[in-house]
Symmetry: C4
Subunit: 244 residues, 4 copies
């Protein structure tokens, strides 16, 4: 059902705290900023841990009243929530920080541990029902997406092999091996085109042209698959309702 005004303010506050967290994790990696506000980032982190831990416990507590777990006994409902995607995300958002505070050695570089907090961005997904519908629609198309990815893998291998054979004599430092050539294939097939590796021979440019045009075909293929999948959803009618 529609959330009341209290729930909406609560949600708004949590979204704000998540956004503050993302900004903090991001800015903390900027040396001058980190050195100028040495205390601020720690305060944000400790406050966030407290709030996110309380939020997790609260959700674990009230999940028995959630419609999805209504018919289950409380302990099954709680395990059900704890193992649901959102439950795991909520746990992952605080667990590393709690373990460090508890003195458990995680064997990871401190910088890595700090940036791991970026997983908190996933907490935002709770607040967009439309995004959950998109994810659900994608899950139903898993096989098609595996097929589309397989086409990409095959195209990448052929492109990398071909351009390697064409260019490795002219540019041994740039196209020195197939893995090197694979980086060029990726950048070209996805039309990113960094320009750090560019074929110079006529054969290499012909291959490049085919890869570029295949890139458009790839975009068109993936998009056509997605579009037809979403249109199919629309035809089932119930989609429009769950979308809002």
């Amino acid at each position: 059902g529609a959330p009341g005004p209290g729930a909406r303010i609560f949600d708004g506050l949590l979204v704000a705290i998540i956004v503050v967290n993302l900004v903090a994790v991001t800015l903390e990696t900027v040396q001058p900023v980190a050195q100028r506000f040495p205390v601020l980032f720690d305060v944000i982190e400790y406050v966030s841990i407290v709030i996110f831990t309380l939020e997790y416990l609260a959700r674990l507590w009230v999940c028995v009243e959630d419609g999805r777990y209504h018919d289950l006994p409380p302990w099954k409902a709680r395990i059900g929530f704890a193992l649901s995607p959102m439950g795991l995300i909520d746990l992952a958002a605080v667990l590393p920080s709690l373990l460090i505070l508890a003195g458990v050695p995680l064997g990871l570089d401190l910088r890595v541990l700090r940036t791991l907090r970026m997983v908190r961005v996933l907490k935002l997904t709770r607040y967009s029902r439309a995004m959950q519908s998109i994810v659900a629609a994608l899950q139903r198309e898993k096989r098609t997406m595996v097929a589309a990815l397989l086409i990409v893998v095959i195209a990448l291998h052929f492109a990398a092999t071909a351009v390697f054979l064409a260019e490795h004599k002219a540019q041994p430092d740039v196209f020195g091996s197939i893995p090197d050539a694979m980086w060029w294939s990726l950048a070209t097939l996805t039309t990113v085109g960094y320009g750090d590796m560019v074929p110079h021979t006529i054969l290499g440019k012909l291959i490049g042209g085919v890869v570029m045009l295949s890139g458009i075909g790839l975009f068109a293929l993936w998009t056509g698959l997605f579009a037809s999948s979403f249109v199919d959803e629309l035809r089932r009618r119930d989609f429009k309702v769950s979308w809002e």
Copy 2:
């Protein structure tokens, strides 16, 4: 209803003046051109202010006969027009220039004020009913677009964090912080690929490959959402009519 020949000539003239304005605002920033025609740009500006001001007043005057405000008393119709998107655009096209002429200090750099006139480009939207239909169709899909944007935000944060961890030791000057890495993520995920920042480590290139392929997925997702939305419009039948 269909506009008469007088109205069409009037519209054509206004479109021509808007286009002249855009060219003038653009070329005025080119030093050699601005110095060669010192008077021309001032003349264009003063004439445009007069015409656009008269146009605004005229529209404010005749809007009471517009179908949308037909049942309202004149003053309500005029406020309705003044607060409508097109009314606000028409006002924004002249207000800064009028305030400067009236001697009101706006506290802005003169160059900024001059380029602000670029907002006049929005006046063109009045003349394409198809564009108004597109905008209306997009507005109805607001929630879906917010969801699609949220997916992008999450992907950008993960990509930037991952590439920062992979590359900041190999290239501390290039991938020095997550905000720096975010610029790379944006350019790669949107397949722009400037090439000013390129991962060098194997791990960084693997992450880059995943981000590039996610970029195609992102294009496909957005396009699929738009396409299914427009196809849905077609099914409602009334769309085709308002489209023309």
Copy 3:
């Protein structure tokens, strides 16, 4: 109706001659190739002029039996063909060369005149009925495409103005004027991303991010419009027939 075997051989020969022409026009601009085969390119050109002129006259002669001009008197049918897109293309493919042979001074650089023969590539359009269907489908969507283009024009102007204001002090040589900034806007909004112009300031990069994401939106919008238009065609049923 379906063409007989004689017509198919005839068509095949003409397609071959057109392709030879394209290759010749292209390779003639490569200095070493042009100097090595000084006679070859002239022979190709003279033979082509003769064949294309004869082809044009033949089509002008037999067009009276074409279904489209069946009910017209011969001279009207011939004018009808001469002014049709394919008739104009056939004429444009030989007229400049004939005028030069006839000694009419066209006031154009010889190199420009030679490359003008590239218009012969358009003769290929006759042989793909599917392409004619695509062009016809696009023509019916003219208004929508003008609207989509208008959105691009507005986005380009705003992007160029914004990035100019953000970057012209940091990089006066690169983002020196709005026309300069427009080149960056084009390359970024269309996700081409040459990398010859890249914003350096934080504000410029934020603007860049918005422009990049707008670029994806733009692709999605255009594609959605095309896709829904083609799907609409499919619904009219008769499409599938004319497509083949």
Copy 4:
């Protein structure tokens, strides 16, 4: 019908061997890796030849029980399989290696021969029925795809000719001939945008802008064609079944 557990384990093993092969072919081109494990790559190759040869013979043996060749006499079924796409791929995966082992001189560089084994990636296509559906859907749209490709060819020729005329005086080393300019056209029209060739003149940049925008149109056109084709498939209903 659904494969039994034995068949699934067998399939899983073959997929694993194919993936090991791809990794081996790829890594063998990296000098330090190849020198460090001189025996490993040979072992992988010999084992793979044995397994893929046995697999090919086994498939040739059992194909008579395949539903598609059920009504044919055994020798016709075997020829039918041998000439089918999957049969040819299975043969191409081992034939070059077998010929070399048999001492048949193929007249090819050893490095080329080794990388030719990359064709084994195509063996993966057997395991994704969804991919076979996609390929089948594409085959049915052959004419439309030829038309879309023809539009690209025409656009590329015009873009290359125009930018060559605009830039060859300003940058004779970069835009020295139409084939050179074609490389730029490809990179720009497909929105790859390496940045190794960039127009400098105003006319060249105007042409560049048109080519970039045509690039978006091209993506939209191809995608629209694919999307409408897939949506059409959905309408035939039977699609969804063969998709899974």
